[in-house]
Amino acid sequence: MNSIMKLLSDAIFYNLIREQRYMQFLDGLGISLQLTFYSAILGTVIGLFLALAKLGRIKWLERLATLYVDVIRGTPVVVQLVLIYYAILGSSSFPKIVVASIAFGINSGAYVCELIRAGIMAVDKGQMEAARSLGFSYSHSMIYIIIPQAIKNILPALGNEFIVLLKETAIAGYIALDDLTRAGNIVRGRTFDAYTPFILVAIIYLYITTILSWMMNKLERRLRESD
């Protein structure tokens, strides 16, 4: 019993306390959260434009958006990240977090596009007809009638997308960005203990995603109440 306690306290001491390694994890978490936040915003903006392009009546825009979504969804995000880092943005002096945010934002945009498109298409088409029959233009019908209803369909799925995004940013280490997962890796390199740092990393991710899911559930319930 005593030896187990000793093992545990040693593991925690070497991986967390010594040389203030807990700061490594905290900084990493900060980077992961920032990266998720910026990517989520960029992804939502890109996704909204893609969705409108896909739903609109301008043929070449629609094709372009479809191509974008197909390419992004058909290739691994880690490949996109590395390509964007080395080939496109690597030569400039952008901070890595900006490059990574752009890469994950571009990736997430393709998925958000489909969420928004599905949410808009789920609104009964009689709504558009009623708005148009009153004399509203297509864009005003969208703004006043369709999008407010679509948001209710979209928000829960969008929340899920952000949770997925948080976990996906774990590959940011590929471009040497010190996110939470990489922090675990760095500590492992120092302590030669493979289990403790990554168990800690896993617990932190789980904790954050649990909070996010809980918030999403609350939001979903509130949206349903107003039905």
Binding site: Q127, S133, L134, Q149
Partner: protein, 240 residues
């Protein structure tokens, strides 16, 4: 008021309207009857370009609608429409449903629009429902709100697309009564309906549509009592 010349509408290979010609006068109440698939709803929806006609001309107040497509939003403000499925905006209260278009499109002051909405709700027999959301209303109440919403734009013409077909039988009467009242006040109305009693009582003219054209038309006494064509007789024999 409305003139339709040689209107055609195809959905791909399917020819739904194959040459509709008619004139609808101011204050006239025209009831369009016919079997399902005869093109009567499509005809109605072409009048405000909710369906794009394949060929032909539509004139509203002398304006060639097809040539003025970019002014279609202006034109639609003059043509109210009531749908089979009501199509109220579920995220807005009854009051907001009615006042949205006058406030946004006619730049009416909110207070004025709300005053007008209350008058309209009174008129359709729902004086105390302005703060309800549509899903709290019965079908008949929803359709009466939909009528009030269309009237809020002060249209010159009202189009009704089977306004009672989605209602429970006991609610049909309350909607028809509102429409009857509207007709008596001199509103120009085009009503696609299966309610033969209403058509006979309120209609100035009955249009029987079949095979994508106006197969036979005339005043209700004539069309219902003494139809000239065999197809009209068969149809009336089934529904009366």
């Amino acid at each position: 008021m409305i003139e339709v010349v040689n209107l055609h509408k195809y959905f791909g290979q399917l020819q739904v309207l194959t040459g509709v010609n008619t004139k609808i006068e101011k204050q006239e109440v025209v009831c369009v009857i016919g079997a399902s698939g005869s093109g009567k709803s499509t005809f109605l929806r072409c009048l405000n370009l909710l369906e794009e006609p394949t060929a032909g001309e539509i004139y509203i107040d002398g304006i060639a609608v097809m040539e003025h497509r970019k002014d279609i939003n202006q034109l639609r403000q003059k043509v109210g429409m009531v749908f089979q499925q009501f199509n109220l905006f579920p995220h807005m209260t009854v009051m907001e449903n009615i006042t949205l278009a006058p406030i946004k499109l006619k730049k009416m002051a909110r207070s004025e629009a709300e005053k007008r909405a209350i008058e309209l709700l009174d008129k359709v027999g729902l004086p105390d429902k302005n703060n309800e959301y549509p899903n709290r209303l019965s079908g008949g109440q929803k359709q009466r709100v939909a009528i009030a919403r269309a009237l809020a734009m002060d249209p010159e013409i009202m189009l009704f697309d089977e306004p009672t077909s989605a209602l429970d039988p006991e609610m049909v009467g309350e909607v028809l009564n509102v429409m009857k009242q509207l007709a008596h006040e001199g509103m120009t109305m085009v009503v696609v309906t299966h309610e033969m009693g209403f058509a006979r009582e309120v209609g100035d003219r009955i249009m029987f549509m079949d095979e994508g054209i106006i197969f036979e038309e005339g005043p209700p006494q004539q069309l219902f009592k003494n139809p000239q064509k065999q197809r009209t007789k068969e149809f009336l024999g089934k529904v009366l």
